[in-house]
């Protein structure tokens, strides 16, 4: 199976009383909390961490897009990805991803992803999220009633821009462009693999199944809460008569590994509580722009609430309810499965269970979260790579990953000079 290293790039210095003193980490988080000079250090630490993860053998490094967000400092993940394309050699670069409806014209996404694919020699995974309500409808002002239609139309435009040989006109509902002809074109043929991070909507399951895209559930609430969603995806795949190839799925999981469970608990409590306490402090007023949730999903949610009030921690709840009911103390965080902790053996065993039960071939691991220091992040990453990763390599070994980048042959690729700081004596 594939083990991927994911960075959210959280601002690591939100004040201790952030929760009490501020309405929200997202949309209207106050600018005075942001110190650009501290962010300079954070960005550079984070990029070091991503490069380190590539160096120690993770299959991919992953970045994502958020706007006006105190736990996600990547309004443009493509900027980070392009740097990673130069500073890594064989690791896949997973941009998870570009919120298609926000780009006008969406041609921009086709172009930038093609650039990253060229620079990296064909190592890009192209993620296409709809985007959260906070990012899309509020921070970017997109009409929630048109968001999904715009997303699908932009998807069609981008795929055509990647694949059509001749200049073409696009006559969409929302996008009209007389001349589409992107330069550069992607290295991967016909185009980089498309992965779709989704919530638990039936429409997205069906779409991924029909389009043969990877469905990813990027939840912060771990495998216990994620079970129902992944089961839903596989049920839809079954219904459509598709293979249960685990590589058509991705799942995000927070992990803290140490010598022992107790040590892991002690080491990672602060960072986890910072994340679940301060970073997920989102004002519910930003959670439910009308039209964002499809009527099919609303119906499923209401019906599941009616069927069983205690359905699960997550499914059937609005984003707002979800944020409000999040556990914020380490013992509950661990008990609920948000963060998997333990010795390398214990973590490997739990992740094997996650990968098997959820039938997921791509595990996206958050080994940095909240205000975790660079040293601790490195420790977590190294220990995972050296002692957990080898124990998981055999999982799903009988399946082929049809959704992994297909890079250029190493012998054809550019020699990228190693970074050498100028000597002080010069």
């Amino acid at each position: 199976m594939k083990l991927m290293w994911f960075h959210l790039m959280p601002y690591t210095e939100l004040p201790e009383d952030f929760r009490e003193a501020n309405p929200s980490v997202w949309v209207d988080i106050h600018s005075t909390l942001f110190d650009p000079k501290r962010a300079h250090l954070m960005y550079n630490d984070f990029m070091d961490e991503l490069e380190y993860a590539a160096e120690v053998g993770f299959d991919a490094v992953c970045v994502n897009e958020h706007h006006s967000n105190g736990y996600g400092l990547m309004p443009s993940p493509n900027l980070i990805a392009s740097s990673l394309a130069r500073r890594t050699r064989d690791t896949a670069i997973c941009v998870m991803g570009n919120s298609l409806a926000l780009y006008n014209p969406p041609t921009r996404v086709a172009e930038e992803f093609a650039m990253i694919d060229c620079i990296s020699g064909g190592r890009l995974i192209a993620g296409f999220p709809v985007g959260t309500p906070m990012d899309t409808c509020y921070a970017y002002g997109t009409n929630p009633s048109q968001l999904r239609d715009r997303y699908h139309e932009a998807h069609d435009l981008v795929v055509r821009a990647w694949t059509e040989k001749d200049t073409f006109a696009f006559n969409g509902r929302f996008n009209q462009q007389r001349y589409i002809n992107i330069w550069p074109r992607p290295v991967q043929n016909p185009h980089p693999p498309i992965w779709v991070p989704g919530g638990g909507s039936v429409e997205t399951w069906r779409w991924c199944a029909e389009m043969n895209y990877v469905y990813c559930y990027l939840s912060y609430y771990g495998y216990k809460a994620g079970r129902a969603t992944m089961d839903g995806f596989w049920a839809e795949m079954d219904r459509l008569g598709k293979d249960r190839n685990p590589y058509q799925a991705g799942f995000l999981q927070f992990v803290g590994v140490a010598e022992s469970r107790q040590q892991a608990f002690d080491l990672y409590s602060e960072a986890a509580e910072y994340f679940y306490g301060r970073c997920l402090h989102v004002d519910p007023k930003w959670a439910t722009p009308p039209g964002y949730t499809s009527e099919g999903s609303q119906r499923a949610g209401i019906q599941s609430q009616i069927r069983q009030a205690a359905d699960s921690v997550v499914r059937g709840k609005s984003t707002g309810e979800r944020f409000a009911s999040v556990a914020r103390e380490m013992d509950k965080i661990v008990e609920n499965g948000y963060v998997i902790i333990g010795s390398p053996d214990e973590v490997a065993e739990q992740l094997r269970e996650v990968a098997t039960q959820l039938n997921v071939g791509h595990l996206m691991l958050l080994l940095q979260y909240g205000n975790m220091s660079k040293d601790l992040t490195r420790y977590n990453t190294k220990l995972f790579a050296e002692q957990v990763m080898p124990k998981l390599r055999d999982v799903h070994a009988s399946w082929t990953d049809h959704w992994w980048p297909n890079p250029m042959d190493t012998s054809q690729r550019a020699e990228v000079p190693a970074y050498t700081p100028r000597l002080a004596a010069e």
């Binding site: 409808c137 009409n143 929630p144 048109q146 929302f174 519910p284 007023k285 009308p290 039209g291 009616i306």
Partner: protein, 262 residues
């Protein structure tokens, strides 16, 4: 209180409900934010001396999912014009509240020959950066009733599912109504109606709830100044944004008195 007569028309392939009640000259009414999931006392006030005709707007209760095919402001205006025509309201006096009032104003601006007098209750459509409307779509659920009505219980009662109503579809329909309003007015509520106000030649009554927490009352002045036809402005005491819900008798009386003026 007798039930209104209900008819159904088809607009862009979506069935659209038309309520009709009363006798006398026709008066059309386009509902405000949230639409009309049920008949309201205000309409009975109007029906005393008028044939009140209440078409649903696309996506609002009774308007099916008609909003989903309306992508531009032009699409909306053409759909509303078609609905009014099919409802038999061409040339009639028109009243509207909130989002509905905005569309009444648009129709009067674009097709001045096809409207009589206008009564507009706190219309959407304008945006003053120094005095912005409240964002109705960025609210915690429990805040909405108090923003729409001076008495939040009135909004809650309007939106509460009737006994025996399908409890799955009813809440979806109420969300859809908010979505339809968003589809026209997201994100600021600004359709640049201000540019077209000068085209309104009809005599116009402007009504504003004294405690409107959505639309600043100063906007009444912008409407009054912008509209070419004669305007009268009345503030409704003890009423919120949807003044016709808080003070049905008072608002009804003001409208009828205005329409009856020679």
């Amino acid at each position: 209180m007798t039930d209104p007569e209900t008819m159904t028309i088809e607009v862009n392939g979506f069935s659209t409900r038309i309520w009709r009640k009363g006798t006398g000259p026709k008066l059309g009414f386009l509902a405000g934010f949230g639409g009309l999931p049920r008949w309201i006392p205000f309409l009975d006030e109007l029906a005393q001396t008028r044939t009140v005709i209440v078409p649903s707007l696309p996506g609002f209760p009774g308007g099916d999912r008609g909003h989903t095919v309306l992508d531009s402001h032009l699409d909306w205006l053409v759909a509303v014009r078609e609905i009014l025509d099919q409802a038999g309201l061409a040339g009639a006096d028109l009243a509207g509240s909130s989002v509905g009032a905005s569309l009444v104003a648009e129709v009067a601006a674009l097709w001045p020959a096809s409207v009589g007098k206008l009564a507009l209750i706190a219309p959407f459509g304008l945006f003053d950066v120094n005095n912005p409307p409240t964002d109705p779509w960025a609210q915690r659920g429990d805040a909405v009733p108090g923003l729409m009505c001076a008495d939040p219980e009135i909004w809650k009662a309007l939106k509460a599912p009737p006994v025996g109503e399908n409890s799955v579809e009813w809440p979806i329909e109420q969300v859809r109504s908010n979505e339809a309003a968003a589809r026209i007015f997201w994100p600021l509520g600004n359709t640049r109606l201000e540019k077209r106000l000068r085209l309104i030649k009809a005599p116009t009554l402007l009504l504003w709830g004294e405690h409107d927490k959505i639309m600043p009352r100063a906007y009444a002045e912008t409407f009054a100044k912008g509209i070419t036809g004669p305007t009268t402005t009345q503030i409704i005491a003890n009423a919120g944004h949807l003044a016709e819900l808080d003070q049905p008798t008072e608002v009804g009386r003001e409208i009828l008195a205005f329409l009856d003026e020679r």
